[in-house]
C-alpha cells in the first residue's frame, strides 16, 4: 500500500435491536470496523453471535422499522446507508454491494429459471436490452466456472447440484460489479469437498475484480487462509480483531483462544479429548452485565462480570518494514492472554 486511501466501508457503533414478544433482543450491540478497498474481512463467531444480522444490517437489508431499531452508522464509500430512503438504498443493492446467502437451495426462486434470476438483475440495474443481458449472463456463468453456461440459463434451480447452485448465486451477486461483497456463510450448506472449490472461486473472483469482501462464517478454517483481517464476535459484540495471521497465531481473547483450541488437530495423538467450550451463548434479550463471555471463560477473574470490557487497541511491538497502520489489533477483555508466541520481528512478511 502506498498512500492511505479512504476505506470503502466504515461501520461505527452499529446496534440492531429486535422488538419481540419476549422483549428487546440486542442482536448486534455496538460493533465497529472498517474495510478497505480490495480487502477481505472475516467475521467469525458461533451461532447466535449476531454475525449474520450484522452482515444484513451493514447492507441495509435490516433497517429501522416496525419491529426493529438500528442505531449507529454504516458508511459505504462515504454514503450513510441507513440515512438513505428505501428506494435509494435499494439502488445500492447489486451495483455497490451484493450478498451471497447461505443456502443456495432456498435463496433461488424454485419456479424461476436460472437465467431469469440473472437477466432481471442486469436489466434492472444496468438498463441493457434482453439480448445484452443474456450474453452477460452467459459470460457470468462462465466466470464462476459453470460448464455449458448457455444451457444452464434455461434450467431451474432444482436441476442443478448444490455446488453449481452456489456458483449461480455468486454469479448473481457479481452481476452488476459491486465493490463490496458480503458472503454470509457461503459454504455452510454445501458438501465438504465443494466448500473448498467455492471458497477458492470467491477468492479468485475477489482478487480479479479488486472487490472488498466480508466473509461471515463460523468455520475458522474457511476464514484462516482467505482473509486479510478477522473480527471475532461473541454475543453481539466484537471481542477481538486484527490481521488474520496474527490473531490466529497469537490470540489474545480467551474466547478466540478457546475457539482455536477446539479445532481437532490432525497430528494429535489418537483418542485426544476434543476441547469444547462449556456452556451456551447468553440470551440476547437479557444479556449479562459485564463481560458476556465471563460465564464460560476458563480464565475468568472476579472483576470480569462487573463491567463491560471495551474494545481497545493492543500495544504491540512493530515488525520491521511494516507500516504501523496494518497493526490495528484490538481486544475487548479485562485480562487478555499474555502469550509468548509472537511472530519474531524481522520475519518474512506477506501471506
Amino acid at each position: 500500500m502506498t498512500a492511505p486511501t479512504t476505506p470503502l466501508l466504515v461501520v461505527d457503533d452499529l446496534r440492531t435491536v429486535f422488538h419481540t414478544a419476549r422483549g428487546a433482543v440486542r442482536a448486534v450491540d455496538g460493533v465497529s470496523f472498517t474495510v478497505a478497498r480490495g480487502e477481505t474481512l472475516g467475521l467469525v463467531g458461533e451461532s447466535g453471535s449476531g454475525k449474520s444480522v450484522l452482515g444484513r444490517t451493514v447492507m441495509g437489508l435490516i433497517a429501522t422499522g416496525a419491529t426493529t431499531t438500528v442505531t449507529g452508522s454504516v458508511l459505504l464509500d462515504g454514503q450513510d446507508v441507513h440515512g438513505l430512503s428505501r428506494g435509494r438504498r435499494r439502488r445500492l443493492w447489486g451495483p455497490e454491494v451484493a450478498m451471497v446467502f447461505q443456502d443456495p437451495m432456498t435463496s433461488l426462486n424454485p419456479v424461476k429459471r436460472v437465467g431469469t434470476h440473472l437477466t432481471e438483475t442486469l436489466r434492472r440495474h444496468l438498463d441493457c436490452s434482453r439480448a445484452e443481458a443474456r450474453d452477460r449472463a452467459v459470460d457470468l456463468l462462465r466466470q464462476v466456472g459453470i460448464p455449458e453456461p448457455a444451457r444452464r440459463l434455461r434450467q431451474y434451480p432444482h436441476e442443478l447440484s448444490g455446488g453449481m447452485r452456489q456458483r449461480v448465486v455468486i454469479a448473481i451477486a457479481l452481476a452488476c460489479d459491486p465493490r463490496l461483497l458480503i458472503a454470509d456463510e457461503p459454504t455452510t450448506a454445501l458438501d465438504v469437498t465443494v466448500q473448498q472449490q467455492i471458497l477458492d472461486l470467491l477468492g479468485s473472483l475477489v482478487e480479479e475484480r479488486s472487490m472488498a469482501m466480508v466473509l461471515v462464517s463460523h468455520d475458522l478454517g474457511a476464514v484462516a487462509g482467505r482473509t486479510d483481517r478477522v473480527q471475532v464476535m461473541y454475543a453481539g459484540r466484537t471481542v477481538e480483531s486484527g490481521r488474520t495471521r496474527d490473531v490466529f497465531a497469537a490470540p489474545r481473547h480467551p474466547y478466540t483462544e478457546a475457539l482455536l483450541a477446539s479445532i481437532p488437530q490432525l497430528d494429535a495423538p489418537p483418542h485426544t479429548v476434543l476441547r469444547a467450550i462449556e456452556g451456551t451463548p447468553p440470551d440476547m434479550a437479557r444479556p449479562p452485565a459485564g463481560c458476556r463471555f465471563a460465564p464460560r471463560c476458563a480464565v475468568r477473574h472476579d472483576d470480569c462480570a462487573g463491567a463491560m470490557p471495551a474494545l481497545v487497541p493492543l500495544s504491540m511491538p512493530l515488525s520491521v518494514g511494516s507500516p504501523a497502520a496494518s497493526y490495528d489489533r484490538e481486544v475487548a477483555c479485562h485480562h487478555p492472554t499474555t502469550s509468548a508466541a509472537f511472530a519474531a520481528p524481522g520475519g518474512p512478511d506477506g501471506r
Partner: protein, 342 residues
C-alpha cells in the same frame, strides 16, 4: 382477526386514556343510532356499526390496561354471545317467552307490532312474538346443525379412519363414493334431497350430515395415513397388537383432535346451510321458526316497512356463525395446523 396488537409496549395510562372515551363514545353512538328517527335507515345502520366497532376497540384497550396484557376482546365477546344464545336455546321451553309458533293464538295478537310496546322485539305478520321466535329459532337451527355434525363426524371419522388404515380396495371404494358425494355441489344436493324428504328436523339433519361426511372422511383418512406410518404404530404392531387395538389406542387419539376441530368449523357451515335451505322454502317450514325462514318473511316488500323482522334473525345468525367460526379457527390453530389455512 382483530388480534391484539403485541408489537410495542403501551403504557397503562395511555391505554385507559384512549380506551375509556372510545368505549363510551362508541356505545353512545350506537345507542343513539339505534333509537333515533332523525336519519335514514342506511346511515343509522352505518353509524350503529361504527359505534359498535369503536366500543369494541375501546373495550380492548381498557381490558389491556386492566389485565396487564393484550386481551382478545372479540374472542371473549364471541364466547359470551354463544353462551347466551345456547343457554337461551336450551332453556327456551321454560323461559317466559311469548308465542312463537301457535298461529291460531296469533290471530288475536297485533300483527307487525313495533318493538317495545308489549313485545320485546315486535311481532310478525301472524302476530307471533319475534323475540320468542328468535330464541326458538336458535333452538332449531343449532339443534339441526349439532345433530348433523354429530352424525357426520362419527360416521365420516370412523369410515375415514378405517379406510386410511386398511387401504386397498376398501379405500378405493370409499374414495369413489366420497368423490361422488362431492361431485354434486352441496346446495344442489340439499335441494335435490329436499324434494324428496319431508321437512322435519330429522330429515334436514340427515341431509346436512351428508355434507359433512366427505370432508370428515378425507381428513380422518389423511391423518390416519400419516399416523399409521409413524414408528410408534409400527412398534405396537411388532409387539403383536391386533388391528382393533391399534385403531383404538394408537390411531384414534391422534385423529380425534383435528376431526373435532373441523367439526366446530362445520357447525357454522351447517347453520348457514340450514338457514339457506329454510330461506329458499325447502327446509323447516313456518310457523316453526328457524332463522332462515324468519328472514324469508321479509321478502316481498315487508323488509322495507318492518325492518326488525329481518334484522333480528339476521343479527342472531351472523353473530352465531361468527362466534363459531372464531372458536373453530382457534381450535384448528391448536390441533390441526395443516388445515388451518383460513
Amino acid at each position: 382477526m382483530l388480534a391484539p396488537d403485541t408489537r410495542a409496549a403501551h403504557p397503562r395510562r395511555t391505554l385507559l386514556l384512549t380506551g375509556l372515551p372510545l368505549l363510551v363514545a362508541g356505545l353512545a353512538l350506537a345507542g343513539w343510532a339505534f333509537t333515533t328517527e332523525v336519519v335514514v335507515t342506511i346511515v343509522r345502520m352505518l353509524l350503529l356499526a361504527a359505534g359498535v366497532l369503536a366500543a369494541i376497540a375501546g373495550l380492548g384497550k381498557v381490558a389491556h390496561a386492566v389485565c396487564g396484557r393484550a386481551v382478545d376482546v372479540v374472542l371473549w365477546l364471541g364466547i359470551g354471545w354463544l353462551t347466551f344464545i345456547l343457554g337461551a336455546a336450551i332453556l327456551a321451553p321454560w323461559l317466559p317467552l311469548g308465542n312463537h309458533d301457535d298461529a291460531v293464538a296469533g290471530l288475536t295478537a297485533p300483527i307487525f307490532a313495533q318493538p317495545g310496546d308489549g313485545y320485546l322485539l315486535g311481532t310478525n305478520n301472524y302476530g307471533l312474538d319475534v323475540f320468542s321466535r328468535a330464541i326458538h329459532g336458535a333452538r332449531t337451527s343449532i339443534l339441526v346443525a349439532l345433530l348433523a355434525v354429530l352424525i357426520g363426524t362419527t360416521v365420516g371419522g370412523l369410515v375415514g379412519m378405517v379406510s386410511g388404515f386398511v387401504r386397498g380396495t376398501t379405500d378405493r371404494l370409499v374414495g369413489i363414493v366420497s368423490n361422488s358425494l362431492l361431485a354434486v355441489p352441496p346446495l344442489i344436493l340439499l335441494i335435490a334431497l329436499g324434494t324428496v324428504l319431508d321437512p322435519s328436523v330429522r330429515s334436514i339433519a340427515f341431509a346436512l350430515s351428508l355434507l359433512t361426511i366427505p370432508s370428515m372422511v378425507r381428513l380422518a383418512r389423511a391423518n390416519t395415513i400419516t399416523v399409521a406410518e409413524r414408528e410408534f404404530v409400527l412398534a405396537a404392531r411388532a409387539l403383536g397388537a391386533s388391528r382393533m387395538r391399534l385403531l383404538r389406542r394408537e390411531i384414534l387419539p391422534n385423529v380425534v383432535l383435528p376431526v373435532l376441530s373441523l367439526a366446530v368449523v362445520m357447525i357454522s357451515v351447517l347453520i348457514v346451510a340450514e338457514a339457506s335451505l329454510s330461506f329458499l322454502g325447502i327446509g323447516i317450514q313456518p310457523p316453526q321458526p328457524t332463522w332462515g325462514n324468519m328472514i324469508a318473511e321479509g321478502q316481498g316488500g315487508v323488509m322495507e316497512e318492518h325492518p326488525y323482522i329481518v334484522v333480528v334473525p339476521s343479527v342472531c345468525l351472523f353473530l352465531t356463525v361468527f362466534s363459531f367460526n372464531l372458536l373453530g379457527e382457534k381450535a384448528q390453530a391448536r390441533w390441526d395446523t395443516r388445515s388451518a389455512k383460513l
